[in-house]
Every structure is written in structure tokens, then in C-alpha cells.
């Protein structure tokens, strides 16, 4: 962690003259303690890259509302590469349809904030980028959780029909469930059977019947990750880790934060 303020270049590439958003972001980042340089309108990719280097900024933020982002944003990334400044991350915003985001990310734009993004989320993201706290990809899928009425009655399908081998069966007191692990490649199936009426698995079964319940992602930074998620306002079921099977540390994200999918973070015992 450094005490030097983060320096940000906010730039308007192309001919678009709408700078309300750019100006608001610039001011909001200043309010977050950053030093912000605003280029003004109609900057070419090369001008932006040179300004970024001259001003010694840590990150470049691009804004475009004219629909030219697909051609303009990657050019700024390219210009930074040509000036040997590919280490300066480029983020962007404006009127950008969600379906264009993968293209922009493939072309080196680190992150796109679309219309309606709170300025706080942008500031938090930049802070994390610069403080080396950018979110790392989870290690792997730790397991896929499947809710069942009875482990005993379900096991034959997994063992005999699929030919998987049973790794372990244990009871997780805190969740009132009995779990069975079946290894598949480098991941596992976790069969979940409720131990009582108060088990969350029981209410899942009552509401939706047996089936896929959650996906667990293996991480090695569960505490830090939860803090980051919280500061970004991402909805969580568990704000701090709790004990899971195999002495792991686990926490669930709220499905509302993940388009209806229930994700578990799981950090195995050291």
C-alpha cells in the first residue's frame, strides 16, 4: 500500500461532446482523494496515451456516448502499448451496450462501467486496481452442490451409473446437513441431505425439489474477498467466513448478486 494519491486521466476520445459523465466521475474520484486530470474533448488515441505518460497517471478512464467505443477504446490501449505504457490500465464508460463489453475486454480494456454505475463503485475499483487488490480469478470449481432427499437413495446413480467413487460423508452441524463428496476430475459433486426441518437444504427441496443447489469456488483469499465484495455493495449471505466441510472456510454470495446462481466461496484448510 502506498500513501501517494492515485493519479487518474479521464479522457474523451473521438468527437463526442457529452462530458457530463466524465466531469462527474472526475469530481467523484477527486472526492475519493485521487488526483484527476481531464483531457477535454476530441482527443485522439495517441494524444490520450501521451497525456497519460506525461502526467504519470496510474489509470486511464475513457468516456464515449457516441457509439464509437468499439473502434476508439482499443486504439487507446494500442497507443499505450506503442508508447511502452501497456502497464497503465484502461477502463471505460458511457453509452455502451452490454453485448459490446466482451469485445472491449478482449481488446485490452480492463473494465467497463455502463450507464447507472454508482461513482463509488468506480472509485473502489480503481483503488483496488492500484493497491494490487484487484480481484483474482478463483482457483477452480471446488464442488457442485446437489440437493437430494436422501444420500443413501441417490448414491447408486453416482457410484454405479456414472461410476464415480465416494470420497467422504460427513455432517455439517452449522447448516444442518449431511454431505457426501464424489470426486470427478479435479472437482467434486457434493450431495446435500437435510438433517432437520430447519436446514436450508430442506427449504430448497420444499420450494424447488431436488437438483443443482450451488456452485462452490475455491479461493485462497476468502477474508479479503468478502471485505472487497462488501465495500462494493455486492449482496452476501455470509459477510464473514464460517466453518464448512473438511475444515474449510466457506461463505455464500446472495444469488441476487449473481443473476440467480448461488455461489459459495470455499477456502480449503492450509
Amino acid at each position: 500500500m502506498t500513501m501517494k494519491p492515485i493519479r487518474v486521466l479521464i479522457a474523451k476520445p473521438g468527437l463526442d461532446g457529452h462530458d457530463r459523465g466524465a466531469l462527474i466521475i472526475a469530481q467523484a474520484l477527486r472526492d475519493h482523494g485521487m488526483e484527476v486530470i481531464y483531457t477535454g474533448l476530441r482527443q485522439s488515441a495517441v494524444q490520450i496515451a501521451r497525456a497519460a505518460i506525461q502526467e504519470d497517471v496510474d489509470v486511464v478512464g475513457l468516456s464515449s456516448l457516441s457509439g464509437a467505443h468499439k473502434s476508439l477504446f482499443p486504439k487507446v490501449v494500442e497507443a499505450l502499448e506503442n508508447e511502452n505504457a501497456a502497464d497503465i490500465p484502461v477502463i471505460g464508460g458511457g453509452v455502451i451496450p452490454a453485448e459490446d463489453i466482451p469485445y472491449l475486454e478482449e481488446h485490452g480494456v480492463k473494465k467497463i462501467f455502463t450507464s447507472g454505475s454508482p461513482t463509488d463503485a468506480i472509485a473502489v475499483y480503481i483503488k483496488q486496481l492500484f493497491e494490487g487488490q484487484a480481484i483474482e480469478s478463483p482457483k477452480k470449481i471446488a464442488h457442485i452442490g446437489i440437493a437430494v432427499e436422501s444420500i443413501d437413495l441417490s448414491l447408486p446413480f453416482y457410484q454405479h451409473t456414472l461410476g464415480l467413487s465416494l470420497e467422504a460423508v460427513e455432517e455439517v452441524e452449522s447448516e444442518q446437513v449431511k454431505v457426501a463428496f464424489l470426486k470427478i476430475g479435479e472437482t467434486m459433486f457434493e450431495l446435500l441431505e437435510p438433517l432437520s426441518e430447519s436446514s436450508p437444504i430442506q427449504s430448497f427441496l420444499t420450494k424447488k425439489g431436488p437438483g443443482v443447489h450451488h456452485i462452490a469456488l475455491e479461493v485462497d483469499d476468502i477474508h479479503k474477498r468478502l471485505e472487497q465484495y462488501q465495500s462494493q455493495g455486492i449482496k452476501l449471505i455470509h459477510e464473514t467466513p464460517k466453518d464448512g466441510a473438511h475444515d474449510s472456510q466457506i461463505a455464500f454470495l446472495h444469488p441476487k448478486a449473481a443473476n440467480g446462481v448461488l455461489f459459495e466461496l470455499s477456502q480449503p484448510k492450509e
Binding site: 473521438g14 469530481q27 453509452v95
Partner: protein
């Protein structure tokens, strides 16, 4: 027997005290988007304005209730949807579709290179060709744009500012090819450069020569296009940049005064050009404040033209305006909700007595509108006109204690701003000093903070959210368009009479240097297919370029 007024009021005040002790009101203080305080109730004893002096009848000074004696009882407002994207052929198709659907005027959106005086093959145009409007390089494109649209039958509004003279010249030339004389042409060019420096960004030249181009147009049109609106003094973009309703009115009228000053200085008679000045306002969500804003603007302009400039012709006093609903109020989230926002905004514009109206499409926070969305937007106006009955009496909000009080308040606050701008030395000076830009930015930032703290609720954005699928049904401008447009213009350059082009550009340069009206020379140049970029470049050479603050 009914109790006397004072007794009733006292009883009510007592009731209020009791009630609020048990059930506090939703907020401690209520205010409009312009931070004007809103009272709990407005009553007859608050208005001390004289009806004859401040309100009057429609079609009578100071026009608070409207500029025509019968307003929408004679004819509805002009339904004028702004459209344009991609190539001239595509836009021509959309125009003819909209006319078929009952639209009554055209409104052309140009792409950014055209608006900033670059041809499609200019390196500066890279990636922007046809994106936010139609790409026009030469008269050839303009001929395609208005193909089979008789210019003596439609009125056309063109959102063009720094190169307004060039596009107007092309419109004149297309008209002549159709056998329509310039005197028959009706429509509007935006031609409002001051708000480009303040809020919209499509300037080319510095303020002084830009003001001269504008007065050249005034003078030329007075002679040749007497039915054409020579400028549309625009608060719309000021509001979109984040101003309050009060700032929108104040800065627009201050800009209007700067144009009147410039024209008088150029030797024009106020009553000759003032009747052709038009205005363009925004309509946001706060229904009463918006309706009151239009009423206040009309009254202010009437008094300024009559008393400050001594205009004699009542046509010079009348503030005629176009309204567009507020693009920045639309949300990308739950886009169908935007139809409801647009309805409220359109209704406010009609209550405010607008002469023409553009209603935004629900998907404009995501992309340019699809044909279906554009149709719903037009239908919204048609429903207000034909089904709601609001157009059947004039100024139905007139006499509302609240609306009259708000009209007065907006007028007062806006006049205070105008005085400050006059003290700075007028709008041109205030723009150069960045005064309006700073005021707008401060208001925009405050509004953003109010929204992020959930003090202001935007439905679907910071409250009442739902999980949504990615909206896939968006209008996309074909990426191949840029290339084909460049080819088209290349072909025009290869097949035109080059010596005639060179000669016309030489004459234009001379006129610019000698301070003669450039307009006739631009008309000659476009007729021999000189391009937008070539003409703008001649003027760039002579006038220089504006590079921002």
C-alpha cells in the same frame, strides 16, 4: 353557512400541526429540481400578481398562457421526431416511414464528423461515421436524404451548429433541384453555437467568428428564406449537461440576448430578424416545474424583447419553442419504464404550450431507437393529442395557485442569473470565462450525489431494481457504412467539376477575409459539390479553431 377563509385556513393549520406531530411528513423540506422551496399548499392569498400584467390572454403580451389566441384548439403541436443514422439512403427510408405514420415535420440528426465539419474520410472521423446521425459529405448525400420528400410540403429541422451555413446551403440547393424556391422553404437550423461551448461540444471556430457566421445567416435568410427559422436557441443540451430548470431558462435566454446583440451590432433591424428566432427546451420529470418553466420563459422573452430591445413587432416578442423530452432522465435499466417518463414529460411540454415536440424512445439510454421504439414514442404524442383531452382548452394549468407561484419563482431566479451574466459582460464573455459551465457542473454533481445517497429515487436504478436480461434488440449501425460512405465521397470528388470547386472555395475565402457575407458563396460551393469538410477547412484557415477552455 360556509366559514370565512381565514377561519378555514387557521383550522387547517391546526389540523396540520396535530397530524404532523403524530405522522411526520415524508421529508423535512420539499423542493423542486431547481431547489425552489415547495410549500405545503398554495392558496389564493399568496398570488399578488396582476392577471392583466403577468398572465393575460393567449396570443397577448406577455404570452404567459401561449403565443396563439387559440393554441391547440386550432392545430396540435408539430410532432417532430429527431432521426438519422448511417447513410443518407437509410435515413431517407426512416423519414418516409415516419411521415407515413403521421409525423408532421422532419428533424435531421447528423453524425459527429458532419457536425464538426469533417468529411467521412478525414482521420478525425475514424469510427464516428454514421453513428449518432446521418453522414453528409456533399450535396449528393443531401439529395439522397430528401429523395421523394417534397421540400415545399414538409418543414425540416436540422440539428447543425458550427457548419449550419453549409447544411442550409445544401438544403436550398436540393430545393432548387426539386423546383422549390428558397422563399418556400420552411424549417429550422439549430445554429446555436454558444450552447456548444457550454454543453454540447460540436464547436469548430472561436466564439467571435462563429457569431459572425450566425449573423451572416440571419441577414441572408431575411432576404432569401423569410419563412425559415434561422436559429434554435437551445436550453435542451444545457439541461442534459446537468443544469437545473432555472439555469436552463436563464442561460438560454442569456444566449438569445447575445445573438440579438450581435445581429444589432452587425447592422440588422431587431424587428427584421427577431420574428425568425426560435427556441428549444427540455422537458424533465418534475411535471409542474417543467410546465411553469415554459410559461416563465415566454413571459421573460416577451419583456426582454419589448422593453430591453424596444422591438415593436409583436412577432418579435413571441417565444416560439420546440421541446424534446429529457434524454438524461432515461434509464438503461427496465427500459420500458422510459415510456412512462416520456409520457409525463411530453404532457408537461404540452401543458407549457410547446409549438413542436420530440418524444424520446425507450431504448435511447442504450442505443439509437429501433423502428418499433420510435413508433411508440410518436404514438405517445398522438395519444396525448387525440385521447387525453388536454389540448381542448388553452393553458389548463393557468390559475393554479401552485403553477402561477412556480412560474413567478422561476422567472425571478432566472432573471437573477441573467443579471449576473450581464454583469460579466454578456453570454459570450460568460462562456469564455466558463461561468455557465461551472454552474451547470456543480448542479450536475449535486444531483448525482442526491441519487447515490438515495435522497432522489430513480425507479429501477437505485430503487425497485430487478434482475434483467441483456437487451439484445438494439439498433446497430453497420460497421461497413464508414467504408462505403468514404467510397461514395471519393466518387463525388472524382466526377465533379474540380476547377469550379476550386473557384468557389477561392471566392468563399475572399469573402471570409473581406468580412462579406459568406452565405451566398457557400451556396455556390455546395452546388458544384464542394464537401462539408472542404468548406469548413477554408473557414478553419481563416477563423482558426477553438480548442476548449
Amino acid at each position: 353557512m360556509t366559514k370565512p377563509y381565514d377561519e378555514l385556513k387557521q383550522e387547517w393549520e391546526k389540523d396540520v400541526e396535530m397530524t404532523t406531530q403524530r405522522f411526520p411528513e415524508r421529508k423535512e423540506a420539499f423542493q423542486t429540481s431547481s431547489e425552489l422551496p415547495i410549500n405545503r399548499i398554495y392558496t389564493p392569498d399568496q398570488g399578488n400578481a396582476s392577471y392583466e400584467e403577468k398572465i393575460g390572454f393567449p396570443g397577448q403580451y406577455p404570452y404567459t398562457r401561449g403565443i396563439q389566441p387559440t393554441m391547440y384548439r386550432s392545430r396540435y403541436w408539430t410532432m417532430r421526431q429527431y432521426a438519422g443514422f448511417g447513410s443518407a439512403e437509410e435515413t431517407n427510408e426512416r423519414f418516409r416511414y415516419l411521415l407515413d405514420q403521421g409525423q408532421t415535420g422532419l428533424s435531421v440528426a447528423f453524425d459527429l464528423p458532419t457536425q464538426i465539419g469533417y468529411d467521412s474520410d478525414d482521420p478525425m472521423a475514424d469510427g464516428e461515421v454514421g453513428k449518432v446521425g446521418v453522414a453528409i459529405d456533399s450535396l449528393h448525400d443531401m439529395e439522397q436524404l430528401f429523395d421523394q420528400i417534397p421540400l415545399d410540403k414538409v418543414s425540416t429541422s436540422m440539428t447543425i451548429n458550427a457548419p449550419a451555413s453549409i447544411l442550409l446551403a445544401m438544403y436550398i440547393a436540393v430545393g432548387e433541384k426539386q423546383g422549390v424556391s428558397p422563399a418556400q422553404l420552411t424549417g429550422t437550423i439549430q445554429n446555436d453555437i454558444l450552447k456548444e461551448y457550454i454543453a454540447r461540444g460540436t464547436y469548430i471556430y472561436p466564439p467571435k467568428p462563429s457569431m459572425r457566421l450566425i449573423t451572416d445567416i440571419f441577414a441572408y435568410c431575411q432576404e432569401n428564406l423569410p419563412k425559415f427559422n434561422t436559429i434554435s436557441i437551445s436550453g435542451y443540451h444545457i439541461r442534459e449537461a446537468g443544469s437545473t430548470a432555472v439555469q436552463e431558462v436563464a442561460f438560454t435566454i442569456a444566449n438569445g440576448m447575445a445573438y440579438v446583440d450581435a445581429a444589432i451590432e452587425a447592422g440588422l433591424e431587431v424587428d427584421q430578424f427577431a420574428p425568425r428566432l426560435a427556441f428549444f427546451f427540455n422537458a424533465h420529470n418534475q411535471f409542474f416545474e417543467e410546465a411553469a418553466k415554459f410559461r416563465a420563459a415566454r413571459r421573460m422573452w416577451a419583456s426582454i424583447m419589448k422593453d430591453h430591445y424596444g422591438a415593436q413587432n409583436p412577432k418579435s416578442w413571441k417565444l416560439r419553442f420546440h421541446t424534446q423530452t429529457g434524454g438524461s432522465t432515461l434509464t438503461a435499466q427496465q427500459p420500458d419504464n422510459n415510456i412512462v417518463r416520456v409520457t409525463l414529460q411530453a404532457l408537461a411540454a404540452v401543458m407549457g404550450g410547446t409549438q413542436s415536440l420530440h418524444t424520446n424512445s425507450r431504448d435511447e439510454a442504450l442505443a439509437l431507437p429501433t423502428e418499433e421504439s420510435a413508433r411508440i414514442a410518436l404514438r405517445t404524442q398522438q395519444i396525448i393529442a387525440n385521447e387525453s383531452g388536454v389540448a381542448d382548452t388553452i393553458d389548463p394549468l393557468g390559475g393554479s395557485y401552485y403553477v402561477e407561484a412556480l412560474t413567478d419563482q422561476i422567472e425571478q431566479e432566472a432573471n437573477a442569473y441573467i443579471e449576473r451574466i450581464q454583469q460579466i459582460g454578456g453570454a459570450v464573455q460568460a462562456v469564455e470565462e466558463g461561468f455557465m459551465q461551472r454552474e451547470i457542473h456543480a448542479a450536475a454533481y449535486e444531483a448525482q450525489k442526491r441519487m447515490e445517497s438515495n435522497e432522489d429515487i430513480v425507479v429501477g436504478l437505485n430503487e425497485y431494481q430487478v434482475e434483467e436480461e441483456i437487451h439484445a434488440d438494439l439498433l446497430r449501425v453497420d460497421e461497413a457504412l464508414e467504408k462505403s460512405q468514404i467510397e461514395k465521397t471519393k466518387h463525388v470528388r472524382e466526377t465533379r467539376d474540380q476547377p469550379a470547386v476550386d473557384e468557389s472555395l477561392r471566392k468563399l475565402r475572399e469573402a471570409a477575409q473581406l468580412n462579406q457575407n459568406v452565405m451566398p458563396h457557400i451556396v455556390e460551393a455546395v452546388k458544384v459539390y464542394a464537401t462539408v469538410g472542404e468548406i469548413a477547412n477554408v473557414l478553419r484557415d481563416e477563423f482558426g479553431e477553438y480548442t476548449g477552455m
